[in-house]
Structures are given as C-alpha cells and as structure tokens.
Symmetry: C2
DNA sequence: CCAGTAACTTTAAAAATGCAAGTTTATACT
DNA sequence: AGTATAAACTTGCATTTTTAAAGTTACTGG
C-alpha cells in the first residue's frame, strides 16, 4: 500500500518535516546511514529502543516516500535489508548538521555514539 | 515552570531530536531564522497554521532549552519578541540542509517559500 | 465605555505513541 | 515428528499528544 504524505505548504523545509518531522524517523535513518544497521532486527535493537510497531510503520513510510528500499538479501530463509535510495542518501547532511549541533550545544553530561 | 527535555540516549543526533524532533519546532525556528517573524502573532499567522496551543508550548520548550529568549520590545502595552540565542542560531545549518534536501528531492509540484 | 489586538489558555475529540504479547515463516536440533 | 529459535512483523489497548475552535486577559485608542 502506497503511503502518501500530505504536505502543509510548498516550503521545502516544511515538506521535509512532513516526512521526517517526528521523534523516530531520523534515528532510523541515522542507524542506517552511520551505524550500518540495515535489518529490522538490528534497527529494533538500537539504543533508543523504538517500539516495533513504530519501526514497522516508519519503514513503510520511508519506503513509500522513496528514501529507503526493502531488498531481500538472502533466500532460505528470505531476509530483508533496508537500504538508502539516492534520495535517502541525501539525508546525510541533515544528520551531520544535527550531530554537530548536538555536540556543540547539547553536551549536558557526555554525548557519545550511538 | 522549567521544561526539562528527557533524552533517550547520549547520541548527539537523538539528543537534538529530543528537542526538535516533531512537526512544528523547526518550522517555528525557520520562521524566526529566515522569515523574520518574531512575535507570537506573526508566528501564529504563518502559512502552515500551527495550532496556537502548540505554538505556545513549543515556544516555552525552546526558551527552556535555551534556543530562544523572550524579550519585551516595548512597554505600553508590553509586547514580546522571541529571538534566537547563540545556540538557537546554530540551528541554521540544519534548516539549510533541510531546505536543500526538500528542493532537490521533494519537488512534487513546486516547492516555494515560505 | 466599546472595539480591537497581542499573547495566551482551555476544552473535547481525534490521532499518534508506547508497551506487551501474539503471529507467521522458515531453519535447526533432538 | 516435535521442539526451539530467529527474523520480521501485527495486534490490542492504555496513555499521551495533537488539533480545531472557542475563550481569556491585559491594554489601548477612540
């Protein structure tokens, strides 16, 4: 089923937020982009403990939005990996900017990866 | 009342998202950063039509997080403007990255400011 | 006194989130 | 054959957040 994301205005920033303006989408993209986590199980196991129903939902939205693709990487048994499309890879500068911001301005008592 | 934002993990990206990982925070910051909207009324009037209770809530959170400050800019009657702190100004690269992403990858049928 | 404006607050209904448990499909072990 | 394990989800339900709309407070200019 195709997931269409309605947009609030034609502004490119608000349209970007229509897709990734929530608590979890960008941490999934972070895990795929920087931490090499590509399977559902790997993503579910990451430190922030995303609820699995939200993980499933966000993956669907991201696939629907064309930022990820779900690819079987083995048969017997079939297993899937979520990988970035070209558009998905273009998220990297956003993540980098957030990383830098977090490091420079949110350093409460230690900010470390992941 | 002080608004403390609990964080999910020490990762600088997830900590950044703990503050601005939602549908509205970054559009408020966009309006202040790029469109010179600084008063509650100006922010409430922007194109995406943020519900006023959320605007009030987000402004409080941003002030609490040290990204904005609420400054009276006139007496009789007293009126306030929300302005970026130094940390708040550091959001700009994030917004720029989102703008670029939106323009390049979300150009459905026309993405224009605001 | 009355209308108008800025800056919020309140309310109730709708939607999203969070948590735990359950399901499905497939392989491996005994 | 029967049991166990694992990946990848789904379901049900309580809690929280978001939305839309209306209401409030403080002040002012006529």
């Amino acid at each position: 089923m195709k997931q269409t994301v309605a947009h609030r205005s034609p502004c490119p920033i608000s349209r970007t937020l229509d897709i990734m303006g929530d608590k979890w989408t960008l941490v999934i993209l972070r895990d795929i982009t920087f931490f090499n986590r590509h399977t559902y199980a790997e993503l579910a196991a990451s430190r922030e403990k995303i609820p699995t129903n939200l993980l499933a939902d966000r993956l669907k939205r991201l696939v629907g939005a064309g930022l990820l693709e779900k690819v079987p990487y083995q048969d017997r048994p079939v297993r899937y990996r979520y990988q970035l499309t070209e558009a998905g890879q273009a998220i990297r500068p956003i993540l980098m900017a957030m990383k830098k911001f977090g490091e420079q301005h949110l350093s409460g008592e230690g900010t470390k990866a992941p």
